[in-house]
C-alpha cells in the first residue's frame, strides 16, 4: 500500500522528533503500510535465546548503560501471538524497569501476529525509521523458540545469544543454527549454581570453531560481568558473519513472499490430491510471482 497524505504527515512529524508520531508510524508499518524512508546507517543488536533466560532483564541493563552515556536507545521486543485467539501477552516491558524512564529510551512490544513468514518484512523498515528518527542504538529482542523467531535476530548487525545456567537449551539453539550467527554468547544468572559449568560446556562445544564467539558469564540482577560484555559488544565487527546473516535474511524474505502468494492454498490443494507434482507446484508459484 503506497503512502497517503496522512502517512506522509506522520512520517514527517516523526522525523522531526515527535514521539507520538514515531509510535503511530511503527503501528502503520506493523499493519502492512509501506513507508518510504531512506535506508539508514543504523547500529543494531539482536538479542535472542530461550524463554526465561533473562533477555529482557539484560536489555534493561544495556538501556541504563547506554542512556547514561547519552545515547538514545530503542528496543523492539518481539513476543509470540497465541495461535488460538490471535491475542498476545507482551511481558518484556515489565522486565525492563528503565523502559519508561526518560526521553532517551523507547521500548515497543511487538506481537508476531501469526504473520506468515514472521515479522521479517516489517522489522527492517522499523529499523530504518528508528535510525532516521535519531535513535542511536536499536535492540531487537526475540524469543528463541523456533527457527523463524531466531531468524528475526539476523536483521541486526550483531547478535547476542543469551542462555541460563540450568537450561542446556543452547543445544536447541545449536539445532536451529543460531549459534553460528551469534557474535557474543552470555550465560545469564551467574549468581546461580551451575552457571560456570554451563559457560564451560558452551565454550568446549565451540572450541573446534575457527573463530568462536566470546562466552560471558553475567548477572543482570547485580550487574556483574556486564561491563566486560558491553566492551565486546562495542568492539564487535558487524562484518564477521555478514554472509551467514545475509543468507538468513534472504531465506526469511523468501518465506514471506511464498507464504503470502495468493496462489499458495490452491497449489497446496492440488498437491494434496496428487493432481500435480511438487516440481509443477514450485513452477506454478514462481510463474504467479511474475
Amino acid at each position: 500500500m503506497a503512502m497517503g497524505v496522512r502517512e506522509e504527515e506522520i512520517l514527517r512529524s516523526a522525523l522531526k522528533g515527535s514521539r507520538r508520531d514515531l509510535s503511530r508510524l511503527l503501528s502503520l508499518i506493523e499493519s502492512g503500510q509501506e513507508i518510504n524512508v531512506h535506508t539508514q546507517d543504523s547500529w543494531t543488536l539482536g538479542v535472542t535465546g530461550p524463554p526465561g533466560s533473562g533477555k529482557s532483564s539484560l536489555i534493561g541493563n544495556f538501556v541504563n548503560y547506554w542512556s547514561s552515556r547519552g545515547d538514545k536507545v530503542a528496543v523492539l521486543a518481539v513476543d509470540p501471538s497465541s495461535p488460538n485467539s490471535g491475542g498476545a501477552l507482551l511481558g518484556d516491558r515489565m522486565r525492563m524497569p528503565s523502559a519508561d524512564s526518560g526521553d532517551s529510551v523507547f521500548v515497543r512490544s511487538l506481537a508476531t501476529r501469526n504473520h506468515p513468514g514472521g515479522l521479517s518484512a516489517y522489522i527492517s523498515t522499523m529499523i530504518d525509521c528508528l535510525a532516521a528518527c535519531g535513535w542511536d542504538r536499536i535492540v531487537i529482542e526475540t524469543v528463541g523458540s523456533g527457527q523463524s523467531d531466531y531468524r528475526i535476530a539476523a536483521f541486526a548487525d550483531r547478535i547476542l545469544l543469551v542462555d541460563g545456567p540450568d537450561r542446556g537449551d543452547i543445544v536447541q539453539a545449536e539445532k536451529a543454527g543460531i549459534i553460528e550467527l551469534a557474535d557474543i554468547i552470555a550465560v545469564n544468572k551467574s549468581d546461580m549454581e551451575g552457571s560456570e559449568k554451563a559457560a564451560e560446556a558452551i565454550r568446549s562445544a565451540l572450541s573446534m570453531d575457527e573463530n568462536p564467539p566470546p562466552v560471558h558469564l553475567v548477572c543482570s540482577h547485580d550487574g556483574s560481568g556486564i561491563a566486560a560484555m558491553m566492551d565486546d559488544i562495542e568492539n564487535c565487527t558487524p562484518g564477521a558473519r555478514s554472509r551467514l546473516r545475509a543468507r538468513e535474511r534472504l531465506i526469511s524474505a523468501w518465506d514471506f513472499r511464498l507464504l503470502n502468494n495468493p496462489e499458495i492454498n490452491g497449489v497446496i490443494d492440488l498437491l494434496e490430491t496428487g493432481s500435480i507434482t511438487l516440481e509443477e507446484a514450485v513452477k506454478r508459484l514462481i510463474q504467479s510471482e511474475g
Binding site: R19, R24, G87, L89, R93, M94, A99, V107, R108, S109
Partner: protein, 145 residues
C-alpha cells in the same frame, strides 16, 4: 486491540491484573502488562510508546483518587485523549462518578466476569469505528454500566 494493563502506585497485589491480562489475550487482544508500582508518568509513557488503544488501571491501594486523575491528565497532556481508560480493583461505588467525570469509561469491581470486560472492549471498538467519542479526553457522558 492493543491494551496496557497498569498497576500504579504502592500496591503489590497483581493477581487480578494478571487474570485480566490473560483473559484479554484469550479474547484476541494484544496486552502489555506494566508490572507493579509504576508512576502515573511511567504508565503514560508506556501507553504512548506502545501506541495502545486502551489503558486498564488496576488499583487496590485506596489511592485511586490521586493516581487515576494524574494518569488521565498525563494522557491528555501528551495528546493521547483518544485512549480509552477503564479501571478495576477496589473503588467504592460512592467514589466512582468522580472517576467517570474524568473520562474513565468503565469501572469493574470485584466479582466482575471477565467476559463483561471483553464485551466492554467490543462496544468501544464499535464506538471508535462509528466515530463516537469514547477516549479519555473526548467529551461524552457515555460510560459502561
Amino acid at each position: 486491540m492493543k491494551i496496557i494493563i497498569a498497576k500504579p502506585g504502592l500496591d503489590g497485589h497483581d493477581r487480578g491484573a494478571k487474570v485480566i491480562a490473560r483473559a484479554l489475550r484469550d479474547g484476541g487482544h494484544e496486552v502489555i502488562y506494566t508490572g507493579l508500582r509504576k508512576t502515573p508518568a511511567e504508565i503514560v509513557r508506556a501507553t504512548l510508546d506502545e501506541d495502545a488503544a486502551a489503558l486498564g488501571i488496576s488499583t487496590l491501594s485506596g489511592a485511586h483518587d490521586v493516581l487515576i486523575p494524574s494518569i488521565c491528565e498525563g494522557l491528555i497532556d501528551e495528546d493521547l485523549g483518544e485512549i480509552v481508560v477503564f479501571a478495576g480493583g477496589i473503588i467504592p461505588a460512592s467514589e466512582r462518578s468522580g472517576r467517570h467525570d474524568m473520562g474513565v469509561r468503565a469501572i469493574f469491581g470485584p466479582g466482575t466476569n471477565t467476559s463483561e470486560i471483553l464485551d466492554f472492549l467490543s462496544e468501544i471498538s464499535l464506538r471508535k469505528e462509528s466515530g463516537k467519542p469514547v477516549g479519555v479526553g473526548e467529551s461524552s457522558q457515555w460510560r459502561w454500566e
